[in-house]
């Protein structure tokens, strides 16, 4: 009986504690991240980003340059649990939706940040990639990576003339 209750604590008690702890830490971090994202996005509002491939003729004489931003965010125990439940019954995994949104937005922010450092104020042909990072076996917690990249156009001597 003692062995059974020990096994029970091991199998259900510890994960339950981890899930509760992860919910509080995870949502705290997530709320803070979203606040930071909104702030940084506002700061970078003057850097435009578009998915169009061809540069408009106003930019023809400026210097194109590849800029890239990347963010890796870890899944927490609570999100994993919520997703596991969804894995049985199906439906929107809200816990992962916010995770990927944070990764995408952070990647775009970092890409724009790089564009600004190169003197650009527009990024064209923006593309987004996401990847999952496995930390060990199939049941291990995973992280998600989002990469945003595009072409920025910075002032060159020729561009200065156009301006």
């Amino acid at each position: 009986m003692d062995e059974l209750s020990f096994e029970f604590v091991l199998n259900f008690g510890i994960p339950a504690v981890l899930i509760v702890v992860a919910y509080f830490t995870g949502s705290l971090i997530e709320r803070r991240h979203f606040r930071q994202l909104i702030k940084k996005e506002n700061e970078l509002r003057d850097i435009l980003a578009f998915a169009i491939r061809r540069a408009p003729k106003e930019l023809a004489l400026s210097e194109p340059r590849l800029v890239c931003g990347c963010a890796v965010i870890s899944v927490d125990y609570f999100k994993k649990f919520a997703a596991d439940l969804r894995g049985i019954i199906g439906g929107r995994i809200g816990a992962y939706e916010s995770l990927f949104e944070r990764a995408r937005r952070e990647a775009i922010v970092r890409m724009k940040d790089e564009a600004r450092r190169h003197g650009g104020n527009i990024v064209l042909n923006v593309k987004l990639d996401t990847a999952r990072i496995y930390a060990g076996g199939g049941r291990a917690t995973v992280s998600v990576e989002a990469v945003a990249y595009g072409t920025t156009y910075s002032k060159s001597d020729a561009g200065a003339k156009v301006h």
């Binding site: 199998n11 509002r45 408009p56 649990f81 049985i88 019954i89 816990a95 939706e97 527009i122």
Partner: protein
């Protein structure tokens, strides 16, 4: 430098995520998962119990030969009681209209345990503690007839399959978190099979029929029940027999009812035990 017609207006929050509070989402999906779990496990249990009698008895026997038979010592030296039990079991089995392929093996186990049970593979175990409470062959025949009827009605395989497959289903659903080993304890599964009230009543009726066939009357058949009641009242702890064979009063009443319906008499000579 900026292309004037192009703008990036601020996008409202909550388009890609945040449609539902995470706790609400988890609560909702947990409720659905638990309900699904209950339906699947209960469904497996019922289906296994219904389908178990379709398993040929020879398969059930073959299965139990590879299982540890807790408390059953199959190669014990033949005591006089074991020899007597074997011959009496053969006579009761002959009167029980068993299917041709059904083989009953009775095992006498020494010790204070006041119990007797039928388990998988046609094995019947009678403990010394219960045997000493019997005061006539008629009572012994009733006891053996009852356990033989369980085997005949496939009660052990039904109970075992239900418990085994339901816990197996639970284990698969819990994704092998280590609970399967705990839920399916083979040793206790074989010795602590629980039969329903209906199964017990049916076994009593079948046993009474066999006893009437053997002796022509039911005198002594309910002696064991009466003795069990006395023992249960005197004992500090309820005897093991009560755990596996409850509802004593109800069963005596049921037997009397069966007897009057079938015209069985309680009058006749009791045969003493050797």
């Amino acid at each position: 430098m900026r292309a004037p017609k192009y703008t990036n207006p601020k996008v409202p929050e909550g388009i890609s995520s945040g449609h539902e509070h995470p706790l609400a989402e988890v609560a909702k999906s947990s409720a659905i998962v638990i309900a699904l779990f209950a339906v699947v496990v209960a469904g497996t249990y019922v289906a296994a119990r219904l389908a178990a009698p379709l398993l040929p008895f020879a398969w059930e026997r073959a299965l139990t030969q590879r299982m540890p038979q807790a408390g059953i010592n199959t190669d014990s030296a033949e005591s006089p009681t074991q020899r007597y039990l074997t011959s009496l079991t053969a006579r009761v089995a002959a009167a029980s209209d068993l299917p041709a392929d059904m083989v009953i093996a009775v095992h006498y186990v020494e010790g204070d345990t006041v119990n007797a049970f039928a388990t998988l593979g046609g094995h019947i175990v009678v403990f010394e503690g219960l045997w000493t409470l019997l005061d006539s062959e008629n009572a012994a025949a009733m006891l053996l007839g009852h356990e033989i009827a369980h085997v005949k009605n496939r009660d052990p395989i039904r109970s075992a399959s239900g418990a085994l497959l339901a816990s197996l289903a639970a284990g698969i659903l819990l994704d092998n978190v280590g609970m399967v080993d705990n839920l399916v304890d083979m040793g206790s599964l074989l010795t602590a099979l629980h039969f329903s009230r209906e199964q017990e009543t049916q076994a009593d009726s079948d046993a009474a029929r066999a006893v009437v066939k053997l002796y022509g009357h039911l005198n002594g058949a309910t002696d064991l029940f009466a003795r069990m009641q006395t023992v249960a009242k005197e004992a500090k702890q309820p005897p093991a027999f009560l755990a596996s064979h409850p509802y004593l009063e109800e069963r005596i009443a049921n037997l009397r009812h069966q007897a009057s319906r079938n015209g069985w008499t309680f009058q006749g000579d009791k045969k003493p035990l050797p």
